[in-house]
């Protein structure tokens, strides 16, 4: 077994290949956080008064939380204290105001996105993916905008939405994740600088995948983006999110908020492939990914699906959730979380059943390798009003090697006796016998691990859009290199 473990370890030593830094002129505010900074950020973005006031309320609330040392400590992760006054809360590539075409964009940024393989130049029309790219704090380009506009679909940066669709923003901002929701969401509400905004009008089926690509480039900055997606009655939208960051020794904070709202008969599919820099083999550096994602099935027969493949970040703390308010609404959560080397993840979901006959499905797959610690934390809550609610939860852990850990914390709260709940869980280890079997058939130890892991994740990959599923499989293999030991 030990020789096999060595092989596994050798495989995991490949380097993070998205770790390059782009040199662009940046415009930043001084580091630290106070009311003045909030006002500067809001002014830079030329925001209406309601936005400034919302941010200030959030800031004051956050300041009181920080004073009370209310930063959440319950997650099963360990990290040193974060000095919030050392973070730069706004960093933007300097650019001419009012870009009208991609030609005016800083070519260095364009090259970065090319390296990342994002179809920002619309050269990949056929790929059918519209992309909004967020570089550090601001949104740099949104492709396919006009084509979508013909259908009445709004897909733009959050900043632009604040300018052009203030009523929609005001109506829905904070309606799912209020500014006072939790420490990191509150911080985000105070300082968030950009993100994506989507509105799909009644009865429209969005004909292409909408996609945002997040990139942290500047040093010592936090990235605080906020995404708001509203699917009006009878509409459908599929949204993809990808993330990378350069290699840096220090930890960087990423505290994002995503809010989804599905009205009657609407459907939102939200897929994430998260590959923030995980830190090096010794656990130095990497992104702290402290994210609040929540969807509200407001209307009857509405549906929200979260699919996530989490391979990056030094620490992941996120629980994409569904509030199932509308009758017959459906919430789904499909997740693969991988921790290798010294990565830690505490992730899962919350399904809050309020409406009658609401249904939820949770399929969570955790993979731990190296010294990685992987925690599944999930809550299923059936309220008194949720007659006929159903939940199915499947939660599987896979261990590679003998120094990693898998932990599971399911919380189930049922207040209506008509509820039907199913919970299945398993923990397994990639065994020497499995590896030998595949190697005896000619596969290398690395390919063998990759195949076993991909098989383990199949149920989740099936939920991803085709081209994303392929990327996710490759990412998983790369992230596992050196984990065969």
């Amino acid at each position: 077994m030990s020789t096999n473990l060595d092989t596994i370890r050798d495989l995991a030593e490949r380097e993070y290949k998205w770790g390059f830094v782009t040199s662009v002129e940046e415009e930043r505010v001084p580091k630290g956080l106070n009311e003045e900074i909030i006002r500067v950020i809001s002014a830079k973005k030329n925001e209406p008064e309601f936005m400034l006031q919302w941010r200030l309320r959030a800031y004051r609330h956050w300041a009181s939380l920080e004073k009370a040392e209310a930063e959440p400590k319950w997650a099963n992760v360990k990290y040193g204290p974060i000095d919030y006054q050392e973070i730069v809360y706004y960093s933007a590539p300097k650019q001419k105001p009012g870009l009208t075409s991609l030609e005016e964009m800083d070519p260095e940024i364009l090259r970065t996105y090319e390296k990342l393989g994002i179809p920002i130049e619309e050269q990949k029309h056929l790929a059918g993916v519209a992309v909004d790219a967020v570089f550090d704090s601001v949104s740099v380009a949104t492709t396919f905008k006009e084509k979508l506009a013909e259908l009445g679909i709004v897909f733009c940066s959050f900043s632009e939405a604040v300018q052009k669709h203030p009523n929609l923003v005001q109506k829905y901002l904070g309606s799912v994740v209020p500014y006072s929701d939790n420490f990191f969401a509150t911080l985000n509400a105070a300082v968030f600088t950009d993100g994506s905004f989507v509105y799909v009008p009644k009865g429209v089926r969005c004909p292409m995948e909408l996609s945002t690509y997040f990139r942290i480039n500047a040093a010592n900055t936090g990235q605080f983006e906020r995404t708001l997606i509203v699917a009006d009655e009878g509409s459908y939208v599929s949204y993809l999110e990808g993330c990378t960051a350069p290699i840096r020794d220090e930890n960087q904070l990423h505290a994002a908020v995503v809010e989804l709202i599905a009205l009657d008969n609407a459907q939102i599919k939200y897929s994430t492939v998260q590959n923030w820099y995980p830190g090096d083999k010794e656990g130095k550096g990497g992104i702290y990914n402290f994210v609040t994602k929540r969807g509200k099935c407001l209307g009857v027969n509405s549906k929200i699906s979260w699919t996530q493949v989490e391979t990056g970040s030094a620490i992941t703390w996120k629980y994409p959730s569904c509030i199932l308010q509308g009758e017959n609404s459906v919430g789904e959560f499909y997740s693969v979380a991988l921790t290798n080397n010294y990565q830690q993840a505490d992730t899962g979901t919350k399904m809050i059943h309020i409406g009658k006959n609401t249904r939820s499905t949770i399929v969570a797959k955790g993979i731990s390798a190296g010294h990685g610690q992987n925690t599944y934390r999930g809550q299923v809550k059936i309220m008194k009003s949720a007659t006929g609610a159903r939940n199915y939860t499947q939660c599987d852990s896979l261990l590679i090697g003998d120094k990693c850990g898998a932990h599971t914390f399911p919380y189930i709260e049922v207040r209506n006796s008509t509820a039907r709940m199913e919970h299945e869980a398993s923990t397994s280890k990639i065994g020497e016998d499995q590896l030998f079997y595949l190697r005896q058939r000619g596969l290398t130890a690395e390919d063998a691990v990759s195949m076993i892991v991909n098989g383990f994740c199949k149920r989740v990959f099936r939920e991803l859009p085709m081209e994303f599923a392929v990327e996710a499989q490759k990412l998983l293999s790369v992230s596992l290199e050196g984990s065969v030991g």
Partner: protein, 256 residues
């Protein structure tokens, strides 16, 4: 030159010496049967030849096709044409039989400098082999060995052998757990794969498999050593007299 030449092979598992000096020559085109009582080291020999790393070679040499087999990793030996049919095939959830087998075939093809086979070319060939073993096509899309019956698992092993077309096939107690009908199908499948370029090593406890795959040579393994070698008649003699006589004869009777 023999395809396989084993000289004074000693193998330990968890520091227990199991094989205590095996000598064996196998030529291409020959079928050898390794027989012996439980615990005699039959499976250890099979696993060691397939290069399983938990089986430590402490002494001896093995040349395969003119190369030092003991320097090879399991996947290298596999790509060079060594195939082992497992006594206990493992399950790989979420990976379809067809995908797995095509990946394995392509690994070996790549090793030999051949182009990879795509799914379109692979399927007709795969279907052909399924028929040979009287297997249901539905098994193609099922996860590898998951939920297979004992017999289906063993048939699946031979199916893999048929697709991978090894130079040296090692069958590790392929007959165990098979009913009479399944035994016949599996054995006939193997027998159909006999050819002058291929050697087959049949590791078995019972003679019944050898009714279908008549070996050229039979070797009796007792306590980690080959105590007798002969033709197919030796298997019949064993069936009649049992291993006890031979153990006593070899002076290696198990005191227990």
């Amino acid at each position: 030159m023999s395809l396989l030449e084993i000289k004074n092979l000693h193998v330990s598992v968890d520091k227990h010496e199991i094989l205590k000096g095996i000598n064996l020559r196998v030529n291409a085109g020959e079928v050898h049967s390794i027989m012996g009582p439980n615990g005699s080291g039959k499976s250890t020999l099979a696993q060691a030849l397939a290069r399983r790393e938990t089986y430590t070679v402490t002494k001896g040499e093995v040349s395969y096709n003119g190369k030092d087999l003991l320097a090879m990793k399991p996947e290298e030996a596999a790509c060079d044409g060594i195939f082992m049919a497992f006594q206990y095939p493992v399950e790989i959830p979420g990976i379809s039989n067809a995908y797995f087998l095509r990946s394995a075939l392509n690994s070996t093809r790549k090793h030999r400098g051949l182009d990879e086979i795509d799914a379109m070319d692979f399927l007709p060939m795969f279907r052909e082999k399924l028929k040979l073993l009287d297997m249901d096509e539905k098994l193609m899309n099922r996860s590898v060995n998951e939920g297979f019956s004992g017999g289906e698992k063993k048939r699946n092993e031979i199916l893999q052998m048929a697709v991978l077309e090894p130079k040296l096939a090692i069958l590790d107690e392929t007959d165990s757990g098979l009913d009479i009908d399944a035994l016949r199908i599996v054995a006939q499948g193997v027998d159909a794969m006999r050819n002058p370029e291929r050697a087959i090593l049949v590791v078995t406890h019972y003679q019944r498999l050898l009714n279908y795959i008549v070996p050229d040579f039979v070797h009796v393994l007792v306590d980690g050593r080959i105590v007798r070698s002969g033709g197919p008649e030796l298997a019949l003699e064993l069936e009649e007299k049992g291993y006890g006589a031979m153990e006593a004869e070899a002076g290696h009777a198990n005191p227990a």
